[in-house]
């Protein structure tokens, strides 16, 4: 078991790595995401107060902030589940409104339909050829052998991997991750980090990851931003090479710096 948490390897786990089929490098999916002066309040409380952010195509951005600063609200605005009172979301130069097929959101809980098999959950959108796409996505997350099972029998980490596969089937240009690993145990988290990083390196979708774990943010992201009082208050690039080492003193210093801003 020990070798599984070796941070130097791009890991899911040794056996999962074997089951992943060597695929040709897919074309980068990412699109430029621009948020312009987003405002949203609930009653008298201003949750987002003119938040702006420009994310180049394929960049991995981690968003850090205390609970209740509007990180999840931001995600809901970007994915189109909610509308901003002011401001707009622009993807590749096009202002968008409502739900977008190019934007996918991974929730904190897996939200699998208990009455569908794993395969059926991954292919939930039932787009033409969904079965093949779902099988491929499941093997990408190392669950090709579980596709006929009920979600109820999976572990928390496996459920989240199924949810990740479901998101991948949609071939998103923009992937939003709303604390997707928050409820997982430490070891499973590290596995999921490796998996997410590998998938992102393959496909280069533009990624926004919400987390309150600063270590997670600097381990995965190209850039870390801090939200406070509904605005972007801190924005820093993480220059470290990949694969990153958890013990890297540069990352540790960066972590301290970010923590001071949160």
């Amino acid at each position: 078991m020990l070798k599984r948490i070796d941070p130097r390897r791009d890991l899911v786990s040794a056996d999962d790595a074997v089951s992943v089929a060597p695929v040709a490098q897919p074309t980068p999916l990412g699109k430029r995401l621009k948020l312009e002066g987003l405002k949203r309040s609930f009653g008298p409380r201003k949750v987002l107060d003119g938040l702006s952010l420009d994310v180049p195509a394929g960049q991995f951005v981690a968003i850090v902030g205390r609970s209740g600063v509007g990180k999840s609200t931001l995600m809901r605005l970007v994915v189109g589940l909610d509308q901003p009172e002011e401001g707009r979301v622009v993807i590749d130069g096009e202002p968008v409104k409502g739900l977008q097929s190019s934007v996918r959101l991974l929730f904190q809980d897996a939200r699998l339909l208990p009455w569908h098999s794993v395969l059926s959950n991954v292919g939930i959108a039932r787009t033409p050829g969904w079965r093949e796409a779902a099988i491929e996505a499941l093997s990408d997350v190392g669950l090709a052998d579980r596709l006929n099972e009920w979600p109820a029998v999976l572990s928390g980490g496996q459920r989240q991997r199924v949810a990740l596969a479901r998101v991948l089937v949609g071939r998103p240009s923009v992937l939003l991750l709303d604390e997707p690993f928050g409820a997982l145990d430490a070891m499973t988290r590290v596995e999921m980090h490796g998996l997410l990083e590998r998938l992102w390196l393959q496909r280069k979708f533009t990624t926004l990851l919400i987390t309150h774990d600063v270590a997670e943010a600097v381990a995965l992201a190209d850039r870390v931003i801090v939200i406070k009082d509904g605005r972007l208050t801190f924005d820093i690039d993480v220059a470290a090479e990949r694969p990153r080492h958890r013990a890297d003193p540069h990352l540790a210093a960066l972590q301290d710096k970010i923590l001071a801003e949160v």
Binding site: L81, L99, F107, L113, A125, W150, G170
Partner: protein, 266 residues
């Protein structure tokens, strides 16, 4: 069903029968030695004889079929109406505003209280009984369908939206399956009410059916036939319950309470 009984020993399977069988034996002894008068309660063996005679003459099968028919047709009509109204009001707030309070008022009228009206409207023929069963079974199914749809996990609906499902797909693949456990609870309630209604309706006014059979036997002090009728009702109720259990196992196969293996069988 084999999955459920697997692993149970012979003794385990025998235990539930222990009490009913001893009651029967005790009952037989009490009537044989004259502790219980036959006019009050016939011996189990007499009931068995009555069963045999009625079965041989075909009278029993005829009455059972008639009652069964009324029950099923009434349930089909009442259940469908209840289900459709439940879905409609569950999905649409305007529909709920329009129908729900009216339905709640109707629901609070004991449906057996309208028997005199029903007899006036339909006489004592089949329509009256089917109508009563339909009215009785409609409400539990309505209430539970409505409740089931309203309590579907909002997170799942949101997930479906984000993954590009349309309203129709969300209804069929998320809302309806999510409401199913509750709908089936409604069905089980409805089955209980179905038999109850039928017994009362057939006892009051009928020229066939198990209720008629027992009332007719009462005229001639045939207590054995009366008890036989009661037993048939019990068996039919049990059969209905068994049928819903089968449906539950099939429809709710995904539910952790109903599957042992974890794999989706085709």
């Amino acid at each position: 069903m084999s999955r459920i009984s697997r692993g149970e020993s012979f003794v385990d399977r025998l235990t539930p029968w222990l009490l009913p069988v001893s009651v029967l034996v005790l009952w037989e002894i009490c009537t044989r030695v004259g502790l219980i008068e036959q006019r009050v309660l016939p011996a189990p063996s007499q009931v068995a004889v009555a069963f045999w005679e009625n079965a041989k003459s075909g009278a029993l099968a005829h009455h059972v079929m008639v009652s069964f028919n009324r029950a099923i047709v009434g349930l089909a009509i009442g259940g469908s109406i209840g289900f459709i109204l439940g879905v409609l009001n569950g999905v649409s707030r305007p529909a709920e505003k329009l129908f729900d309070s009216g339905l709640q008022m109707l629901r609070n009228v004991p449906h057996l209280a309208i028997i005199p009206m029903v007899i006036l409207w339909f006489g004592i023929d089949e329509t009256a009984k089917i109508f009563l069963v339909a009215v009785g079974t409609m409400f539990p199914i309505y209430l539970n369908t409505f409740h089931g749809i309203r309590t579907v996990d909002r997170g799942l609906v949101e997930m479906a939206k984000v993954n590009g499902l349309g309203r129709f797909a969300i209804f069929w693949r998320v809302v309806l399956p999510g409401a199913m456990p509750s709908v089936l609870v409604g069905l089980r309630y409805a089955l209980g009410i179905m038999w109850l209604t039928l017994i009362v309706a057939e006892t009051i006014s009928a020229s066939s059916g198990i209720g008629y059979m027992t009332m007719n036997a009462r005229e001639f002090l045939q207590t054995d036939v009366v008890v036989l009728g009661i037993l048939v009702y019990a068996l039919l109720g049990k059969a209905a319950d068994f049928a819903t259990k089968l449906i539950e196992h099939r429809v709710l196969a995904w539910h952790p309470a109903y599957h042992a293996s974890g794999s989706v069988s085709a």
